[in-house]
Symmetry: C2
Subunit: 330 residues, 2 copies
């Protein structure tokens, strides 16, 4: 199939950029040094490519992602890097044919995990992200509580998400170190082999974590362009021009097809004016006509992918594969 | 089933508010005076409730919505209020067991519709929305072109979307009138019985259109609160508190579960700080604990619904029905 045969809006993965991104990460953080985060792509076929490069431990954000990865035979070591207290879902995770570890940050999450038959946990530590995670000085107590409940505590995790958006490299490095000091102190109290942290924007800076939870690197956000990383944007949307006026044109790719939380998308060869539900209105640099196609690059990959049923791996003009985005929902 | 049995995040429709909204619209614009827009809910079961109130003509934004509505037996009179040039999709629409009308605004869209076997069209006129639609003074020529191609031209449409966000009622009325003057002038050149326009925010002001394409009214956006309408928010998300810190709490409902293009959601009894992919971080007015549930009200309904597989109709604490959001995608 050729790219011109795809109905639009279509999610396109540049096969070469994608492969280069995966190779670059596998070279920098081989094997279990990288625990790819599947929330960034929600696609088991894509995760399989990461596994082919030697990464067999994965990070998930939702029970659905855990269940789907286990079902796809990618369950060697799955970390749910998120708090869940739903007993039915936890029980389902405990019954998976996979090694399952869940994050806990409170007595309640520990009790829920233990009651559901979960066997292994990481203590999730707040390292400054203003989200989940216990106080660093409470991590040891929680580890004791978890062990008293019969859970195996494999170590700690702490996502320094607040660092990812810091544009200055030196400041990003400094703040990463500060966050990891908190995490390592907690690790001292908790024990276990794992210190799980980090992301695409500091994968090469965070030398304290035993494993990096990088997700974005595979498809890569334009919003991370400042970070001077060895990864390049591999995801775009193919859209069709459906209406042309004297001053602007409209393509069939709106905010139901791409996420705006990091700002407007980029349209190659044009200036984007705004997006509405099913349309992007833009001023083209050169005249376009109805039926032309444009390449739309979303600012934020993760929630964009989650809006689509499938993505197409494209090499030049050829669609070499079509992957179901099979880990959507919760 | 009770609301407490639902896995979170869950899309909740308040059965009473929803029913009141539908009744209010059916009273104000009975029968074909309202052509409900299904893009707002993407749910045939919900459209069926609109049909029960007497609205049997519907507006769609995508081919998928048209096909789904026809398949659900709701195809008495379906308008695709959007430009499509994809020959396969247009052919599929032409073959539906439904009355199908599509919008055209150029020679190219007319040619595509005629070639695919589409029988009926509306000429889409730009009335100031900066999106699709021909110049008002070009509408007559396009109608002639369509008729020369063998298409039946049922009239005109023109969405005055730029008016919906105008908070001052008098200004909104004035701008609606200006937009409809353009549309009526075009209608004079085009002919046909239909003048299709309007939306929830000016459904009672736009007295020039023969039918109003209102969608939001059924579930209702908080972003339209200023407009003093006889509709109230009927849609919310039920989320679970999964982590509590000294200064904030976190619930399992992030930007993959709700749209942020109209701003942050509201959490009842709390101040929202920010959303990330799977979390909302908020400061609760009173202490909350892990496992508590919160009600999250999205600012923009349409793209929020499109992120979910189903919605639950809830009366008090009882889930009275669960509807598949079956018109997602394109």
């Amino acid at each position: 199939m050729e790219i011109q045969d795809l109905a639009t809006p279509a999610l396109i993965v540049d096969a070469v950029a994608f492969s280069d991104n995966l190779d670059a990460m596998a070279a920098a953080l081989p094997g279990s040094r990288c625990r790819p985060h599947v929330k960034a792509h929600k696609t088991t076929a894509l995760a399989r490519e990461q596994a082919k490069r030697g990464h067999h431990h994965f990070t998930c954000a939702t029970p659905r992602e855990m269940i789907g990865m286990a079902g796809a035979g990618l369950g060697d070591d799955l970390l749910l890097a998120n708090e869940v207290v739903d007993p039915d879902r936890l029980r389902r995770l405990a019954e998976l044919d996979a090694r399952v570890t869940v994050a806990v940050d409170s007595n309640e999450t520990i009790a829920a995990a233990a009651s559901a038959g979960i066997r292994e946990v990481l203590v999730d530590v707040d390292v400054g992200c203003v989200r989940c995670g216990c106080r660093p000085d409470d991590a040891g107590r929680l580890a004791d509580e978890a062990r008293a409940r019969g859970l195996e505590v494999r170590g700690v995790m702490g996502y320094e998400g607040h660092v990812m958006g810091v544009e200055d490299q030196a400041t990003r490095a400094e703040q990463t170190e500060q966050a990891m000091e908190l995490l390592l102190a907690a690790h001292g109290d908790v024990g276990g082999e794992i210190v799980s942290a980090g992301g695409t924007c500091n994968f090469d800076i965070n030398t304290w974590a035993t494993e990096i939870q990088a997700g974005t690197y595979a498809l890569m956000d334009t919003a991370y362009a400042y970070a001077d990383l060895p990864f390049r944007p591999a995801l775009s949307l193919r859209a069709t021009v459906i209406s042309v006026s004297d001053d602007w044109a409209v393509a069939d790719c709106g905010l139901k097809a791409l996420a705006l939380d990091h700002g407007n998308p980029t349209v190659e060869g044009a200036t984007v004016w705004f997006c509405s539900d099913e349309h992007v209105t833009f001023a083209p640099d050169k005249p376009v006509k109805v039926g032309d196609h444009v390449r739309v690059i979303p600012a934020h990959i993760d929630p964009t992918v989650a809006k689509h049923e499938r993505m197409h791996l494209v090499d030049g003009e050829t669609v070499v594969d079509t992957w179901e985005v099979d880990l959507r929902g919760w």
